[in-house]
């Protein structure tokens, strides 16, 4: 009986990154990092495993257990593979709250797991960029995060036709609903909840629920009108709201800095998570076949308070998943591998030349900063050329017995098939 063989496929909802896929991923990650480092955001990292309590405290135990891979270690500690980074970063800020240099402008790009059915844009293993500002209550921090999101996309080659940042404010949302409906207290809170779910329930259910809160058709129509308003018109409905002032301050900054073409006020952006307290935003792909939110974020207050009793550290930030963003990059043809890429040399071999001569030649390329390697194996010259072409090398270096004796090297450009012969100590001249 033959031994049953193992499966060669990765676990459901996870991905293998072969070198071509990894190069694409690195282009994406490197581009994001360059943008954020240029803006003086600082990278941090945390562990893949955390106490399950950390997620239960933020999202409730039931949701935390349902959405994570969780298990007990041998010491009876209940652990979860992180499904998001926010609880970790809140823990870290709490850990060194007395030493840190606020406001913090931090980012991280960790891998994480969510236990869910894999579908387009959602996998079980993914990477999520997290960008946050901690310790600044002013709207300039909200602006800073939105600008980072816009810069990340435009640095990858995206323009204002490809994506739009939809912006709202949770405080304004509550205030304007209260102002339009005259509701206060618990009833106002209920109206907010109902309007929050406006797009997710049937229209008659929505209207019935609002009617039950005492709203008439005119009040419901006023709410409907908000969805078509620009920021000035909407905020004028409730000029004393702190949220309205924040929205106007933010949109003024966006206009003055030239970011307005990327942004729009959208009363439909609420974001389900309970912890958002001010600005909220979502970045939409404008592609008609994929016109939906790619990622988003907003202002949340005092997550750090879960750890430190009397701490008061506000935060604003966003999270961006790699799967959604790679869809965006591919749909819009961004971050292509440049054909006119840098030289990459395969040093080919003949049996009558000592291997160490090829190793020395290879080192000369590397010392000049040109990626190079010696062909490994004893295949014939034609097969070595095939290997170079398939392996993405731009050139092969050829040094047979004659060249060795003459102190020369032949360099063949694999794209143009052009050959040049140079003295061995000047072999890199044609490549730099």
């Amino acid at each position: 009986m033959e031994t049953p063989k193992l499966s060669v496929l990765p676990y459901k909802g996870t991905r293998d990154f072969f070198p071509d896929e990894m190069r694409a991923r690195n282009r994406f990650f490197d581009s994001v990092r360059r943008t954020l480092e240029r803006a003086c955001f600082e990278e941090y990292g945390g562990p893949m495993l955390e106490s399950l309590d950390l997620y239960a405290a933020k999202s409730g135990e039931e949701l935390a257990k349902e959405q994570t891979y969780h298990f007990e270690d041998r010491g009876g500690r209940h652990l979860a593979i992180r499904p998001e980074m926010t609880p970790t970063v809140a823990r870290m800020v709490a850990e060194k709250i007395g030493e840190l240099n606020f406001p913090l402008r931090w980012y991280s790009f960790p891998n994480m797991y969510r236990y869910e059915r894999p579908q387009r844009g959602r996998l079980r293993e993914f990477w999520q960029l997290n960008v946050d500002v901690f310790g600044c209550d002013g709207v300039e921090a909200d602006f800073d995060c939105i600008k980072a999101a816009v810069d990340i996309l435009t640095d990858m080659g995206a323009d204002a036709g490809m994506f739009t940042v939809h912006i709202n404010n949770r405080r304004f949302f509550n205030d304007v609903l209260a102002a339009l409906t005259g509701q206060t207290g618990e009833s106002a809170r209920k109206v907010s909840k109902i309007v929050d779910h406006r797009g997710k329930v049937a229209r008659e259910v929505y209207e019935k629920e609002l009617t039950e809160q005492g709203l008439d058709a005119a009040a419901i129509a006023k709410i409907d009108a908000l969805y078509a308003m620009d920021v000035k018109t909407a905020t004028a409905l409730c000029p004393d709201s702190v949220g309205a002032a924040e929205l106007n301050g933010l949109f003024d900054l966006l206009e003055e800095t030239g970011l307005l073409p990327f942004c729009v006020f959208d009363f439909g952006i609420v974001r389900g998570l309970d912890y958002y307290t001010g600005t909220v935003f979502e970045v939409f792909d404008n592609d008609p076949d994929n016109n939906r939110a790619m990622f988003g974020g907003g202002r949340y207050d005092n997550l750090v308070g879960l750890f430190v009793g009397n701490a008061k550290v506000s935060g604003v930030g966003f999270g961006m998943g790699d799967v959604t963003l790679e869809n965006f990059i591919n749909t819009h043809g961004l971050l292509k591998e440049t054909q006119a890429g840098a030289a990459r040399v395969l040093v080919t071999r003949f049996a009558d030349v000592p291997l160490s001569a090829y190793m020395a030649l290879c080192d000369a390329f590397r010392a000049a900063g040109i990626p190079a390697s010696v062909y490994l194996g004893d295949k014939k010259f034609g097969k070595q050329i095939d290997y170079a072409v398939r392996g993405g090398y731009t050139h092969v270096a050829i040094m047979g017995g004659d060249e060795l004796a003459a102190g020369t090297v032949k360099l063949k450009n694999l794209a143009t098939r052009e050959e040049t012969v140079s003295p061995r100590d000047r072999v890199t001249d044609n490549l730099i």
Copy 2:
């Protein structure tokens, strides 16, 4: 009653990377990547969760369960958090064996978990560099891996005084023991096993075990002598061994390419793992306080055969953990943050100048490739300077009402305290 607060500490055996630690880690990772990319190694990646079977097939189920974090998902699949990368890469090679361009020269630098008691150099969560060549039986692939290991360390600033690569060959090990003792078959295999554990058992136990296999004192002394021999003397004892030929071929290459000062033949290097079949090596820290193996590797045959029945793909490679290497880097003072680092500008603020003017100034620095950010918040000027100093900024840009009116900006170097005033459109001239 107060709500019990969550712990701010990371899970036992894992680490938080605050920005200073993350920068150090990135310097290390970036240096490794630069070395390997220059040598045309290609990066790949795989999932953090794999089927437990994958590790059980390589290491046995008991060891796999003991050393990993493993659990069942809701579909009853038994999963493990990867404790090593080799089974994943073997699976990936098997997955696309018909399409890949052999020999493969691959690397990866993933995070992984081992369930063990945390101690110096060993944590539960760590990153491990994996470098492998697949599909080349020749000793030039062994050389290629050892050269990669040496280049990684020297590119970080290490010299031959700081580390040594100890090299042996498993085939030679078996052959020379058979030749010296005259044993064959099962008895020869037993002698190899006993000698493999020479350093780990009491001397009298070791001698007793060999005596039981029929060895006399003279034979035991001959084995002892091997541990002090150079490669030529040792291989001369058993000149027909394929392993001896491989050792001599490898050491010739090391000598001809100038790597010999970093390398030594060491009959004591065997490496416990059953799957090594040829060259084995370990890289030692030469620091007297930490004189031990940091990492190692060798040639193993046909791990891919676990997945594909008639596959025959040889491999040679090494794994290098980040914790051990960071000890080495710190002990020898390598990869220090350069004091004369690139400029990094904090744009300070006064309340009477519009924020958007500061944002525009900040963008001018960034457009010139200089990392810059606007101070977030409304603290006084002195506090903003403190923030810049603590945050690692090299300069502050100062633009009050007077400068704004005059179209100028003052730039202060925080190290030298020197101030220069320039027109706003030439503000980056002094920094590039």
